[in-house]
């Protein structure tokens, strides 16, 4: 197992380097310039844009050959210098260090809520197949899957913030992270982000649980007189968890990579999704490369953790 993990970690480094190089080259080959966004203001001042674009590119060394820029960037990265964000004027590492927590708390809470409720409802729905509760759960899970995040978020704001005044319309970064006020500020964003995930987990859990409920080992356990709760939790759910864990981990990877972006946009949360999206539009190369690299690393590591988790969930799986 150890050898397998080391091998996978080496692959991870190799893939991360590939992602870094491709992202860097693609960004530099783009016909746009970080100075493009200033056009409106410059025209307002009657300034010759060509000169300004040239001066801004010269300031950040973007007028040098691409290979020079690449080797300088990789060299700095190796020394722990992730560069200077062109669009936010701060070190990239400091920028990501300040903003990751906003994404993390949102993703963590949304995942906890979605996993907990999704599995709970899914199992209940399967055990009570074709009951009224199952139909209701099925109906709402389809609705949850169909609702787009941006629509749900705006509706929640209009109802609970604008009409009822229960919550602020936007997330306030002045609130201490570990406070009730912060928890309150996260209620609507977490609901928005977790609804679709929860609905999906409900469906997957129901389906996987039903599959296992029909298996011989369940019949055998029941015939032995094992209590029903133990049959469900220890035998059925444990076996059903294998595909569910895969899906949860896959979701987690994609959310970290920007899936929470829409929720961040709607609720004004300055998380990594929003930072990276704005960086793409601002042609902020150092931030885009860093976020892509970190995102790729997270996805690769989550995949590795998933594979390792399999061996605990299903002892028959062996990588050696």
């Amino acid at each position: 197992m150890r050898r397998y993990i080391i091998k996978r970690l080496l692959y991870t480094l190799l893939i991360a380097w590939g992602v870094l190089t491709i992202t860097f080259v693609l960004l530099r080959l783009s016909p746009s310039s970080p100075a493009d966004k200033y056009l409106l203001n410059l025209t307002a001042r009657g300034q010759d844009i060509s000169q300004v674009i040239a001066s801004i590119e010269a300031r950040y060394g973007l007028n040098r050959p691409i290979h020079e820029q690449y080797f300088q960037y990789v060299g700095s990265l190796v020394r722990g210098d992730w560069g200077w964000s062109l669009s936010t004027s701060m070190p990239v590492l400091e920028l990501l260090g300040r903003h990751w927590v906003y994404s993390f708390q949102l993703i963590l809470l949304a995942t906890i809520v979605a996993v907990f409720l999704g599995i709970l409802i899914g199992v209940y729905s399967a055990v009570r197949q074709y009951s009224r509760a199952d139909y209701i759960a099925t109906f709402f899970s389809f609705v949850g899957i169909a609702l787009p995040n941006f629509w749900l978020g705006i509706m929640l704001i209009l109802i609970f913030s604008v009409k009822l005044g229960w919550f602020k319309t936007y997330y306030d970064t002045a609130l201490p992270i570990l406070s009730l006020d912060n928890l309150k500020a996260l209620v609507l964003p977490v609901l928005t982000l977790s609804t679709g995930m929860m609905a999906g987990y409900t469906r997957y859990t129901r389906s996987a649980t039903l599959d296992n409920l029909r298996k011989d080992f369940v019949l055998f356990a029941r015939s032995k007189g094992v209590p029903e709760r133990t049959v469900i939790l220890r035998h059925v759910l444990r076996n059903a968890m294998l595909p569910i864990v895969t899906i949860i981990m896959f979701d987690l990877g994609s959310i970290v990579f920007g899936g929470a972006y829409l929720t961040e946009i709607i609720f004004g949360i300055p998380g990594l999704g929003r930072i990276s999206f704005n960086a793409v539009f601002a042609q902020d190369y150092p931030v885009v490369v860093a976020v892509t690299l970190i995102g790729a690393l997270v996805v690769l590591l989550v995949n590795l953790i998933t594979d390792v988790l399999y061996t605990y969930l299903d002892p028959r799986i062996r990588y050696d």
């Binding site: 493009d36 966004k37 009657g46 300031r59 936010t88 209620v187």
Partner: protein
């Protein structure tokens, strides 16, 4: 049953958490002034490196400039102790600053700081100040910098070799100093200067502005706190608001929801939302003139339709598009027809002798048809019906481009397409991303020439993509509009449509000469420019837009107008 009870218990627990969270005390922002925007965040607080308006606006809250304008364009002194003195020949500007300005470390602000900022930072080669062109003049066909020199601790001079009647309005009025004793540490090292903590956190601003920097969470909010030492405090009192916050929202809808809920103090309002917000008891909506205008550019370059090189054809197209419809249907009444680059509040604005294309009687499709026939683009059939064609007799098909995502421009494009279809022009709309519009449509170069494409690479240059008309928005400085020469003179750096008029070139030259120092003469020259350009129609100036701002009614001290925020430090809560 047990399981059901467990599930119920968990659901209740979750509900309890949500309810508890909902009942948590809400923060009151009584003395904060929170402006909401979805226009995006600033780039830097190190303002000399900035080229975006948000950066300059952020820094400007902690650093006043030499002076500003009120809504009537009267100069309001800020760092200036008295109005700038200009020598009779218009070449020497003597600037006297207040003697009570100081940096955060207590060091006095002197004329030396201003001259250092100009000579060693703004004019330097190593820093690449984006607006250095504002401080250059053409001498012998070459751009040279003006010459700043220290007179004494509070006075410095700027000596020019040529007269520019709008030098004060275009450049001098906005001058803000860097502290020489701090900036010298980074001189010559652009990386160190760019990353200097003092400049990126505005720790040096002393009593130079109404607020002091407090926090900046990127893509979220910019916070400044009341500066009790503010230099105008003696006369006006320190600002009322304890904090001024700019809150960045991801979408206009989120901004509007926050304004409606009372979570923010003020925000710009889309025209379609104005009526709704006017009905809110807690909000006042201020509609003020704006300097932004919408225009339809005609491509007179070699890859555009050759008809647009004939002013009669341009007139015929301009006479076809109703500006009333643009204002009423697209801007929903929040704008007014434009006939030149001068907005109505400008002291140089005139309508005398200016052809008003696009409003009756110069909104007439019959007139357009007659003009096009006279220009050789069409004929009447035996039954009197009009048939438009190009010189080869083929039906006319033109490309109209604009940037996707800008609803005003997209709607205007559809309106123009409809209007021109009445003439028999088939208009193909191309809605492209902004960078594509810039790089493939606006930038141009001579096909065989080496080098990068520019926005005006000479009369023979063409863009990568073929286009005939482009809808775009520009902005004009109402008090010093001569900067519009970059669009309208033959050598103007942004004359991407290839307009060439000796008369317009000469008039812009005169408006930037000694002849225009007298306001009466300048007014005459701008009037003449307006008339010539309106007659020639190099572009169809469609409309000047109005801005709508919703502000909570309890905010007092507001003077609505084109420069509404000029006295922000005097605004207060009732």
């Amino acid at each position: 049953m047990k399981k059901q009870l467990t599930a119920l218990g968990l659901a209740l627990a979750l509900g309890f958490i949500l309810f508890g969270a909902a009942c948590a005390p809400q923060r009151q922002a009584r003395d904060q002034y929170i402006s909401g925007t979805s226009a995006g965040d600033a780039e830097t607080l190190n303002w000399i490196l900035a080229a975006d308006s948000a950066s300059l606006s952020y820094a400007g809250q902690t650093l006043d400039s030499l002076a500003t304008y009120n809504n009537k364009f009267e100069v309001q002194l800020r760092h200036l102790a008295k109005p700038v003195e200009v020598s009779p020949d218009g070449l020497v500007y003597t600037i006297t600053i207040r003697d009570d300005l100081h940096w955060s470390d207590g060091v006095r602000v002197t004329a030396e700081d201003y001259v250092y900022t100009l000579k060693s930072l703004m004019f330097s080669d190593w820093l690449n100040f984006p607006y250095k062109g504002d401080w250059q003049e053409q001498v012998g066909g070459q751009p040279v910098f003006v010459k700043p020199e220290v007179v004494n601790a509070t006075t410095f001079r700027i000596v020019r070799q040529t007269v520019d009647p709008e030098f004060f309005d275009n450049a001098l009025i906005g001058l803000t100093p860097y502290p020489k004793h701090i900036a010298q540490k980074y001189e010559g090292n652009v990386k160190a200067f760019t990353e200097a903590e003092e400049f990126n956190k505005l720790t040096y601003t002393g009593n130079l502005g109404p607020y002091k920097f407090k926090d900046w969470v990127r893509n979220d909010k910019y916070v400044v706190a009341r500066n009790p030492e503010f230099f105008l405090g003696k006369e006006d009192g320190a600002p009322f608001f304890t904090e001024r916050i700019i809150k960045i929202f991801g979408t206009p809808a989120a901004t509007m929801a926050a304004l409606e809920a009372g979570d923010i103090t003020a925000a710009g309002i889309d025209p379609a939302q104005v009526a709704k917000f006017k009905s809110k008891a807690n909000l006042e909506v201020y509609t003020t003139p704006d300097t932004g205008y919408l225009l339809l550019a005609y491509n007179m370059r070699d890859n555009g339709w050759e008809g647009f090189r004939d002013p009669r054809v341009r007139q015929a197209f301009s006479v076809t598009v109703s500006k009333k419809q643009v204002v009423e249907q697209i801007l929903l009444g929040f704008g007014e027809p434009a006939f030149s680059f001068l907005p109505k509040p400008s002291p140089w604005y005139t309508e005398e002798g200016v052809d008003k294309y696009g409003v009756e009687p110069l909104y007439s499709k019959d007139k357009a048809r007659e003009t096009l026939i006279a220009a050789g683009y069409g004929a009447r059939g035996a039954d009197g019906s009009f048939r438009l064609s190009d010189k080869g007799g083929k039906p006319l098909k033109l490309v109209l481009a604009t940037n996707v995502g800008n609803k005003t421009r997209e709607d205007t494009a559809a309106l123009i397409q409809q209007e021109l279809s009445d003439l028999g022009v088939e208009v193909e709309l191309k809605l492209v991303p902004w960078p594509t519009l810039l790089n493939n449509y606006l930038k141009n170069k001579v096909p065989s020439a080496a080098g990068e494409a520019q926005f005006n690479s000479g009369p023979r240059a063409v863009s990568q993509e073929r286009w005939d008309m482009i809808i775009i928005g520009f902005s004009s400085n109402p008090i010093a509009p001569s900067g519009q020469e970059v669009f309208l003179t033959s050598s103007g750096g942004l004359n991407f449509w290839g307009y060439n008029s000796a008369a317009v070139d000469a008039l812009f030259k005169r408006v930037k000469s000694a002849e225009a120092v007298s306001p009466e003469n300048r007014k005459k020259l701008y009037a003449e420019l307006s008339r010539v350009i309106a007659q020639d129609q190099p572009v169809n100036f469609l409309a000047f837009q109005y801005g709508n701002t919703g502000i909570q009614k309890r905010v007092k001290g507001i003077e609505p107008g084109i420069n509404m925020g000029y006295n922000f430090h005097r605004w207060f809560y009732e």
